[in-house]
Amino acid sequence: MDEADITLRNLTYHRFVELGTAPSAAEIAAAMDSPVEVVRDGWRRLHDAHALVLDGDARELRMANPFAARPTPYRVEAAGRSWYGNCAWDAFGICAALHVDGEIRTECPDCRTPIDVAIRDQRPDDDGLVFHVLVPAVDWWRDIGFT
């Protein structure tokens, strides 16, 4: 990953934070004053390096982990804005990446009871909840969407 790709990656992430949703390739191209294909080519290299995840036709963002480009069951409110996390780990990761307190809203996958958990000073306010990882670490990137 060269410096130009790291710059593209950082700009992409910071626009994601500012917007509360995924920036389009066209938005990033405009911010960089570059052709959109330059952005897409860089995003593809970053995708291959697992630095972000593109959608099925590799044109727009699917994930800038921990941020999700699509609605998910993990809604995070923090710093006066809101985002979706790709999974429970990523939902907590949004507060960690922003270094702020926050609220995570989801539901138990078993019984569908709503779960609201607050993060205060990097700790959850409900220590009775549990996190389950189905896929072993060796296979996390085999199908990151499923993982």
Binding site: Y13, W89, G93, C108, D110, P124, D127, L129, V133, T147
Partner: protein, 69 residues
């Protein structure tokens, strides 16, 4: 990578499927802080495989299930 109300709800959701690994939400929060804490840093650099494995190891997430490729 899902959040449940309790281990009993994990077992019910699995419905006999082979379980993965279950940790407390407090441990998850520690993991998230260590894994994602630098994600927006101006001097961000990609984690190496060994850096990520070290995070898991430091939190006691060891053994074959938690071994990265």
């Amino acid at each position: 990578m899902l959040l449940f109300r309790s281990e009993e709800h994990v077992a019910a959701w699995l419905a006999g499927r082979k379980p993965g690994a279950t940790i407390s939400v407090t441990k998850l929060c520690e993991l998230a802080n260590a894994w994602w804490g630098d994600r927006l840093a101006p001097d961000w650099r990609p984690h190496t495989r060994d850096q990520n494995q070290s995070i898991l190891d430091r939190l006691g997430l060891t053994g074959p299930f938690w071994t990265l490729p």
